[in-house]
């Protein structure tokens, strides 16, 4: 279980990007986080594995407080947190197998990592997972020879190789075409069931969010203003999540009412 309490993130001395955020994710739920660009979705996700350092607040994953861990402790905690990225973030010049095995780097002895001497059980697990998502035949190909959808599957397998306790996905489908995008969402949902994983997905496509996730969290300028089952996301809720501009939110600028889009 993931429990976030009073999370604040401020870059420099400006306005906080996350303003006193509270969020609880139970086991085995697929949660999507929606909101306009700049709402703080990505920052929220990155605070969990501390790719972004939270300013204050608490994040507890299965009983471990993450915000106070030292470097070694943080590395240990990160091994349990899988992450999938919008740009896939693979190492292009390495093979698919090396990319997949890099999910094990946290636990792999250094000499094995350098010599590419992966343990048998890791290789077996990699083949099983690659078979499961349909990329096993690419094991010896270089990552940059694959298409977008295939590359994201490599990214997903890399995260699963960690045997994570939670999976974070930062706009995993934003660089993909609609069809592939749906396949990846389907895959994430199926894998969440199979491995009983809680999954947190930042997403812009609300149709996909409704179709493939169990719960939708709506963010607006650093606050959670919607948190309910997908059915509850109606027109009115969408307007609340997506209206306004960051400047208006800070009270710096009042938009000309004549520019407002008439509610259809």
């Amino acid at each position: 279980m993931l429990k976030i309490t009073s999370l604040v993130k401020r870059y420099g001395s400006g306005d906080p990007v996350l303003k006193n955020l509270d969020l609880e994710i139970a086991e085995e739920t697929v949660v999507s986080i929606i909101g306009s660009s700049g709402a703080g979705k990505s920052t929220l996700l990155r605070c969990i594995n501390r790719l972004v350092e939270p300013t204050s607040g608490s994040i507890v994953l299965n009983g471990t407080e993450l915000t106070t861990l030292n470097r070694a402790g943080l590395r240990g905690a990160r091994r349990k947190i899988g992450m999938v990225f919008q740009g896939f973030n693979l190492v292009d010049r390495l093979t698919v197998m090396e990319n997949v095995q890099s999910g094990r780097l946290g636990v792999l002895p250094t000499w094995r990592a350098v010599m590419r001497k992966y343990p048998k059980e890791d290789i077996r697990r990699a083949y099983e997972l690659m078979e499961r998502v349909g990329i096993a035949r690419y094991a010896n190909k270089r990552a940059d020879e694959l298409s977008g959808g295939e590359r994201q599957r490599v990214g997903v397998v890399r995260a699963l190789m960690q045997e994570p306790e939670i999976l974070l996905a930062d706009e995993p489908t934003a660089s993909l075409d609609p069809k592939t995008s749906e396949q990846i969402m389907q895959l994430l949902r199926d894998l969440a069931r199979e491995f009983s994983l809680p999954v947190l997905i930042n997403i812009h496509n609300t149709t996909e969010a409704k179709e493939y996730t169990d719960r939708i969290v709506g963010m607006r300028y650093g606050r959670i203003i919607f948190d309910a089952a997908p059915e509850a996301l109606d027109r009115e809720a969408m307007d609340r999540i997506y209206s306004g501009t960051p400047a208006a939110e800070r009270g710096e600028y009042t938009p000309d009412p004549s520019f407002a889009v008439a509610a259809s």
């Binding site: 091994r79 740009g87 390495l94 890099s102 780097l105 250094t110």
Partner: protein, 265 residues
Amino acid sequence: MTEQIFDHWARFTPAQRVMRYSVFLLCIVVIYWALTSIEVIWEWVWGSPQQIADLFGRMMPPDPSNLGKILVVLWETVNIATIATAVAVVISLPVAYMAAQNTTPNVATLWLGRFILVSSRSINTIIWALLFVAIFGPGVIAGVVAIMFRSIGFVGKLLGEAIEEIDNRPVEALEATGASRFKVIVYAIVPQVMPTFWAVSILRWDINLRESTVLGLVGAGGIGIILQGAIDTFNWPEVATILLVIIALVILGEVVSAWLRKRIL
């Protein structure tokens, strides 16, 4: 707000334009001043075609009687370049790592790395060679060390820049798996700078081949020593042979490095 359509656009404001013309004029003045301030003995310049013809006449035909000895020192020259490049490339790896802003452990190592690069690069190979001939005495060792010292800066600088230009996203992804710093370097940074590493190493070997031919002029081994000897004794036919051999070597080096580049990259 009132509607207004503009039909005038200029890339620079009048003030900017005046500034640009002034700088242009200043450049011309500086070049003119530089040209008039150097002392040229024009008679010697006009007499040069005659001198070229005279020297060429004395070099013809090249004298191959010493060719065996020339080829031996030529081989020595190739060895100086190759050994020095190999050692320099290995040493430049940690230096590049320290001098790149995104990998250096702290500010002190950053400046240490940059200091090594700058001091290595700002001193010409021949000057390094003069220094090491004084330390090691004349011979091959001085040449190897001189070329090495100059090459560390060159390879380290270009490699450090390649490290700074890598795509940081895979690095972030591997940090998110809980991998140690060293493993992140091996998996996310090394593969990205590999092509640059090979390209720069081959280029530097090519340059070192040419530089090692003149090392002998200051006594640091290689073919330059007999070249100097031949010039000192006015043995122009042998000078011609040596120059031809050097040209052949440089062309061969060019061919080999082009082939390597094609094979590796």
